[in-house]
Symmetry: C2
Subunit: 207 residues, 2 copies
Amino acid sequence: MRYGRIPDETIRRLSTYMRGLVGLFHEGIEKVSSTALAEALHMNPPQIRKDLSYFGAFGTPGVGYEVEKLLNHIKDILKLNNTHSTALVGFGNLGSALLKYPGFSPYGLDIVAVFDDDSAKIGKKINGIEVEDVSRIKDLEKREIRLAILAVPANAAQETTDKLVEAGVRGVLNFAPLYLKVPKKVKVITIDIATDLARLPYYLPAG
Amino acid sequence: MRYGRIPDETIRRLSTYMRGLVGLFHEGIEKVSSTALAEALHMNPPQIRKDLSYFGAFGTPGVGYEVEKLLNHIKDILKLNNTHSTALVGFGNLGSALLKYPGFSPYGLDIVAVFDDDSAKIGKKINGIEVEDVSRIKDLEKREIRLAILAVPANAAQETTDKLVEAGVRGVLNFAPLYLKVPKKVKVITIDIATDLARLPYYLPAG
């Protein structure tokens, strides 16, 4: 199903609602009001109702949402009920940790290819996946891999991204601390761990 | 120096400006207009000018900002010109990767203590830091450690956070995919890798 143009911020919040709903589902909770969902996520109820209204009416006034149904609906909107083959580029400390990270598979995100430029790593097998030379990135389109996780050093990030885009990748989860230039058809989400940690000292009490 | 009440969103953007300025500084660029800085960061110039205006006037109309001066000023605002001892809790895949992560030290964020509850890990030494039993978290206040990076499994995250808060920790960088309940005096920043990756498939073309 296609919807109209949905703001990026709504898509971002939908993924957060999904996380909250997954938590409620695992706690065995079957129904939730927008107020309770908002409270669990430190958000506000009108915002949740407005975001969901883009996708038609759900929820019953005075009762709320059925957790499992809403969860599946949001997964449908986010195209998470299909499996998406994902490439991991950069097999250093962070890359290795991400390959072992169990949080991706519940959303159908499946790392099926790993690339590095270090000959000491190329050819190694981890969890049944062989580390390949970055020159093989060009085959991604043929292999129907259109998502990539980028865990390379900052100075290699833009060049690697250009290769990924050329190979048909349309979504990049970027861990390098810089903005990547990509064509409009490509979506980049950047996770900048250091910049996030750097926001904390501001909140320390003086002294 | 103390400023008035600054919105959280401004603090978040200041850390992003800082990242952009660090990049310009390393490229040897000495002056930058708010327009050029905004462009490099995919933000808008009036927003940058407004955010910076909270902290007094800087920049010269028609010339822009001196990169190094503005960078140092923002670091001062964010209290990043001092060193901040930081604890890492959870020494699994992600924790180990974070300990080796080079991105924290330029901002004075120094991981000086590592905790885990796995007896196979406790006592091991990595980069001169010995992994300690989580029961030692209670000594953090005495050791003047008030920031923590939380890389424990989701089901241990809230309990661990409670212990950190009790031990005087005032800022937590949380990698567990849930909202942590903390008193108002404590700031939590959550990095939810899976939820961020889960936003990408939405942008894939159909078919």
